[in-house]
Amino acid sequence: MTAPPLRRGTRLGSGTLSFTFDGRRYTGQVGDCAASALLANGVRLMGRSVKYRRRRGLLGAGPEEPNALFTVGTQAQLIPNVQATQLLLREGLTLRSQNRWPSLQVDLASLLQAGGGLFGAGFYYKTFMWPSWRSYEPLIRRLAGLGDAPLACDLPMPATEHLDCDVLVTGAGPAGLAAALAAARAGARIVLCESEPLCGGELEFERGRIDGQDSDSWLAAMLTELDRLGVRVLTSTTVVADNHGEFIAHAEPGGLPGSNTVYRIRARTMIAAAGALERPIIFANNDLPGVMLLGAAERYLARYGTAVGRDLVLFANHDRAYASAQRLLVGGMRVRAIVDARTDAHSAVGLSDGNALQSLKGSLATAGVEILSASAVTIAEGGRAVRAARIAPLASGGHERRISCDTILVSGGWSPALYADLHGSGAHAYAPELGSFVAAAQSDWHIHAGAANGRLDLAAAMSDGHAAGTRAAAAAGATGDSGSPPQARGDPPPRLAPFARSPCPLVGEKRQFIDLQNDVTVADLRIALAEGFSDIEHVKRYTTLGIGTDQGRSSAVVGAAILAELKGESPAIVGISRSRPPYQPVTMRSIAGFHHGDAVMITRRTPLHDWHAAHGGVLEPMGLWMRPRFYRASGANAADAAVAEARRVRAHGGIADSSTLGKLEIAGPEAAAFLDFMYLGKASTIRVGRSRYMVSLREDGMVLDDGLVLRLAEDRFLATTSSGHGTHMLSHFEHYQAARWSARGATVTDLTDAWAVIVAAGPQSRSTLAQLLGAAWQGPLAQLGHMDFTAGRYAGQDLRLLRASFSGELAFELHCRPAIAARLWEALNAAGLTPYGLDALDILRVEKGYLVSSELNGQTTPLDLGMEALVISSSACLGQALLDRPAFHEASRPRLVGLRAADGRAPFLAGAQLTIDAAPTRPCGYITSSVYSPTLGEWLGLALLARERAAEGATVMARDPLRGRNTPVRVVSPVHFDPTSARMKV
């Protein structure tokens, strides 16, 4: 390892910080990013590649970095895949490299692969096919992939902030600042997001003159003016996704604990001014630590005072390389050579500032820099890091050179940052003068400006930004004067000649790395083409070019150019692959925000919720509600408790909390007609004081829900819905009320929370109620017929008493005000009706063949469920017309049946598939519900079975391979117990 290069301190502050990397302690400076701090400590090896485990160092200095991904933090505060270049150093930071085992220096998998050569594209798919990919997947996944996902998450809650503006400007470089300024001066409301800690973008390196000032003074004055104009400037904040006009921005890349904020920004217009990303030129072994982007070296020097190496070779295809070389020389590094892939004729002759370039070249030569035109770096030499560059002339006849160096700085041009467009449907076009792609169309709500729009020189970028800001402000209706465009003068245009890769013999293409993050080489692209994957999107998926957290930032444009070369087409035809949001890794914790743990969803509580929790009720979610499955006092385990509770209900009685039932009041002169339309069967024939079991259909004829409808008055009904469906049924009723009945007299009102419902079921229920409710209720109770209800007062509050049963026992629903629910419940409990939970209720209802969402599962028609009588009684209700479709009447349609074990003993479980012996692998039905019935002493089931197999007495096989059980079962009536319902009609 070479000695640490010279160090001058960062632009962002002073003082030192201590941190660890792979367990070793290092010192950095305030303002360092993790990458610059490690570089200053002489660390060059920062990770291993995903597939080949090759040693990797830094390529870039910004969001383009594909290699240096770290896992930050420890234990439950672990964040994987954080780019070292985007991670601001903090005191005590714990960093770990990824993709290596047991250590970064010695990686076992890389040794294994060294023996077998490199895996090409499709290697995994082709090699691990027998017996199936799945059998190899766990092992391969352990060896591959980026950072490990943490097993626990104890990150503090990130802040979420909602912002609203006319114009969102992404990028506070020259163009973004000009755009924000123009739009703000015109009176538009602006949010300006800059992913770096400081505004200015390229002005950090390119010291131009703007409006007669040096760029630093101009920048300071402009930031003051933006502040005065009320522009919200968010630094260290990256816009990572465009959700159809809601932009997600993330502060603090990597989302370090306690410091990150997610902004949801609703903007009328987005001006994309996020600049351009420098791209490399591809040559053999270009993944060695020490091969870096030229612009990255400039940034490490200018911002962090860190030299990337001592002896440099520059490799580029444009004029900017010469000015860069000059700055690197001034920064104290030795530039051995500039390798220019262009011919002399292309670079300077006949240009107005050609003389300036010639004199720059002269002074570089004087300083000992060798200038090699029409040449290319073909191979990076070195084992652990770069030791030399091999250079060949591009025309035939010249001889090859070898120049010792520790760093090869490469620049193949700049690709406009199109990411937000590439996430969506934005069209793009090839710009040959850039060797890259630009946005093809500019709309008022999505404008690219500056380098992001292909304007690489300062003056053009700033006037482009100004125009974009003016346009966006006008589109937002701002009428002020946006001022005159800034007059800027910076570096001359780069005069780039597209050059994607150096010449290379076929065998060497396995080491020409296009996508460093995913180990995709030129050879892989050839394989993809040979195997017929020629579209850029197919090539992406077959070779993994541009997948992962990188999403092609460092590789998509180069990959498109090389694919074009291999296909003999123009890049304009090949195009560029789409990328996926987010633009940079964002933790799921950040996206979740406060929707975490108990706050993932709201919890609805019945008035008796606390009572259940305090009295051993084991609560489980049902929709947003929590309902007791059973009470601990009833038995040693869930099964025993449920059986005991069900037994008690049949023996003398029990109480259950059914407050979760949806309760909709339908009122108005046409309420009855409305319900006739909404339900199968006729609500209009229910007499006041009576209720009826009703079923509603979706418009395609499938059963949607069921419940009891009570007629409270001639023009007033109460419709109950199943517990999990309450909110949906409310919307469903409101929908059809609005669409078809709005001009007519029927209203829908949600009363779900206005009434608690306590069910008192069992032979003792009537006598217990009579005793408890007092003398006034005794007459009505005695006369109350099945499905009748009566209303009165209890403890000074309204109470409605409905005689209805979901258990098959004599039973009453007490609809009471929430204020007295607990008092009534405790009184019933004290009078000997003890609580039972959902599991007991399930036993009781399966014994009676009553249905829940297991049977009303969205795939069953009323005919499947044996409700022919209801269908006949109804006329023109919602969904009824489509019940006539022939397929609903075929012999293969399911039919609700009951099941018992053929031997009367064996258990069987819901989910098992039903088959006949002649076709043991082709199910003709499945079990929807199964319980052990304490009343009948055997297992009972409900099932949906093909009508042609559903004759009572038939035997089918219940196949349950996942639980290793096959049980012969007998088809019986779904009403297993008390088929005449004598018990509930007493």
């Binding site: 919307s731 409101e734 929908h735 059809y736 609005a738 078809r740 709005s742 017309a881 489509l882 479709r885």
Partner: protein, 81 residues
């Protein structure tokens, strides 16, 4: 599209609304045609939304699916699905 203008509540955040179905029918008189045969026009989608997080009104929304932008919002009143 980040906001919808509810006729009662004014422009409101999209997450206050729920999307339920797309209309209208492509043509034909029968119920089957009404339920299943829907127009898929890249320039115009006619949709039903409910302002569930607000006034609960059902809305008829005309939207351009290509741009994602709403063209018109009115009450569903009487416009049969």
């Amino acid at each position: 599209m980040t906001r919808l203008a509810c006729p009662f509540c004014g422009p409101r955040e999209l997450r206050e609304f729920e999307f339920h179905k797309t209309g209208p029918a492509a043509g034909g008189q029968g119920e089957f045609e009404r339920v299943y045969l829907r127009v898929a026009d890249p320039q115009l989608s006619i949709e039903h939304w409910q302002h569930v997080g607000g006034c609960r009104a059902w809305l008829l929304v005309h939207r351009n699916p290509s741009s994602g932008l709403p063209l018109a919002v009115e009450l569903l009143a009487g416009n049969a699905p």
